[in-house]
C-alpha cells in the first residue's frame, strides 16, 4: 500500500484532522503531525526503523481536544498500545484511524520496519555481572540463585540516573500524577536513586499495562534491561491473572475488585 497516498486521502477526505507519522528534521527522523492545510508535507513522510510512542502524542492531543480525529502510522506494538489506551479510556477508538506499516518480516514482506528486529548486543561485563537483554525471564530465574539474582539486578538498577526517560517514552504511562515523583516514595532531587524501589514501583505499575514495545529499554541511557524486567511482569500477570495487556479491549483485572478467586495464599516456608 502506498502510505503517502493513503495518509493524504485520510486528511483530504476529512477522515482525520491530523496524521501522526515521522519526517526528517536536520537529519533526524522525528514525529510529525501532518495536516490538511499542509498535505503535501506528507511527501516527506519517513518510514524507517525508528520508533516513537505516537500513541502517547495522540493521548496528549486528545486531552486538549477530545473530538479531534487522529490518524496514526502504526506498528504491531502501536496496535497493542492503542487497545490498552482504549481500555483505560485514554483514547476513543472512534476517533482513531491507523495505517499499518510492516512490522515483522514474513514471506510476504521481506523486511520489517522496527528497531527491535536486530537483537541488542549484551557486553561481556554485563553478561558476567548484570542482566542480558536477550535472556528470557524464565531462564534467568532458573540459572541464577537468589543472591545472584539480587546482585545482578542491583548492578543494573544502580546505574539509573533517574532521567525518567523510561516513563516519558512509555505509551502506557499516562498518569497525571506519577508515583515516581511522589516525595514519600522517591526522594526528589537525590541521586543516585534508592534501589530497587524506583524500579519496583514502575515494575508493579506495568502489571496489566505493559504492552512490550521495548521503547523504555531503547530509551534508557543507563542500559538497564527494562523490557526484560517487564517481560517477567507480563509473564506473572498472565500466569496469575490470565491477562495479556493490549491483546484486545478488555478491562485490566487490576481495575476490578471483589471477585472471588480460587488461589490460596502461599504457605510461609521457613
Amino acid at each position: 500500500m502506498d502510505m503517502v497516498k493513503a495518509a493524504k486521502e485520510l486528511l483530504l477526505q476529512d477522515k482525520v484532522d491530523i496524521f501522526l507519522g515521522y519526517r526528517k528534521l536536520d537529519g533526524h527522523q522525528i514525529p510529525h503531525g501532518f495536516t490538511k492545510a499542509h498535505v503535501d508535507d506528507l511527501d516527506q513522510l519517513e518510514i524507517s526503523l525508528n520508533r516513537y510512542p505516537l500513541e502517547k502524542i495522540a493521548c496528549d492531543l486528545a486531552q486538549k481536544d477530545p473530538a479531534l480525529k487522529i490518524g496514526i502510522l502504526a506498528r504491531d506494538c502501536s496496535q497493542r498500545a492503542l487497545n490498552l489506551l482504549y481500555t483505560w479510556d485514554q483514547l476513543n477508538p472512534e476517533n482513531i484511524e491507523t495505517l499499518t506499516v510492516n512490522c515483522c518480516p514474513s514471506p510476504l514482506s521481506t523486511h520489517g520496519d522496527c528497531s527491535y528486529l536486530t537483537p541488542k548486543p549484551t557486553g561481556d561485563y554485563k553478561k558476567a555481572h548484570g542482566v542480558d537483554y536477550n535472556d528470557s525471564p524464565k531462564d534467568f530465574l532458573a540459572n541464577h540463585d537468589s543472591g545472584e539474582r539480587l546482585s545482578r539486578w542491583m548492578y543494573e538498577f544502580q546505574k539509573c540516573i533517574k532521567c525518567y526517560g523510561c516513563r516519558n517514552v512509555c505509551p502506557v504511562c499516562f498518569c497525571k500524577e506519577c508515583s515516581l515523583e511522589h516525595p514519600n516514595l522517591v526522594e526528589p532531587g537525590v541521586l543516585p536513586a534508592e534501589v530497587p524501589i524506583f524500579h519496583l514501583i514502575r515494575a508493579t505499575h506495568m502489571a496489566g499495562r505493559c504492552i512490550d514495545c521495548g521503547l523504555c529499554e531503547d530509551a534508557c541511557p543507563a542500559h538497564i534491561p527494562l523490557r526484560m524486567l517487564y517481560r517477567e511482569v507480563n509473564d506473572a500477570v498472565s500466569d496469575i491473572f490470565g491477562y495479556v495487556p493490549g491483546d484486545h479491549i478488555e478491562k485490566s483485572p487490576f481495575s476490578i475488585i471483589g471477585k472471588t478467586v480460587e488461589l490460596t495464599p502461599a504457605p510461609m516456608d521457613v
Binding site: 539474582r149 488461589l263 495464599p265
Partner: protein, 64 residues
C-alpha cells in the same frame, strides 16, 4: 484479588532475589491465637534471614 496481587508481588520479588519477606494470611478477628502464631513464626523467619540486604547496598552508594 488481594491474594492474586500478593502472589504477583511475591513473584516479582523472587525474580530480584528478594523472596521470603512478604507473606499473606487470612486471620479473622476471632482468631487471636492464629494471629499470634503467624506473627511469631514470620518474625522468627525474618530474623533468621538476617538484615535486609538492600540497606547495605543503599548505604554503600550514599557513601560513594
Amino acid at each position: 484479588m488481594t491474594v492474586k496481587r500478593i502472589a504477583f508481588v511475591q513473584e516479582l520479588l523472587k525474580f530480584m532475589g528478594l523472596e521470603g519477606r512478604l507473606h499473606l494470611e487470612w486471620i479473622s478477628s476471632a482468631e487471636a491465637q492464629k494471629y499470634v502464631d503467624v506473627v511469631t513464626k514470620f518474625t522468627e523467619k525474618i530474623r533468621n534471614m538476617g538484615p535486609n540486604p538492600l540497606r547495605a547496598i543503599n548505604e554503600m552508594k550514599k557513601a560513594g
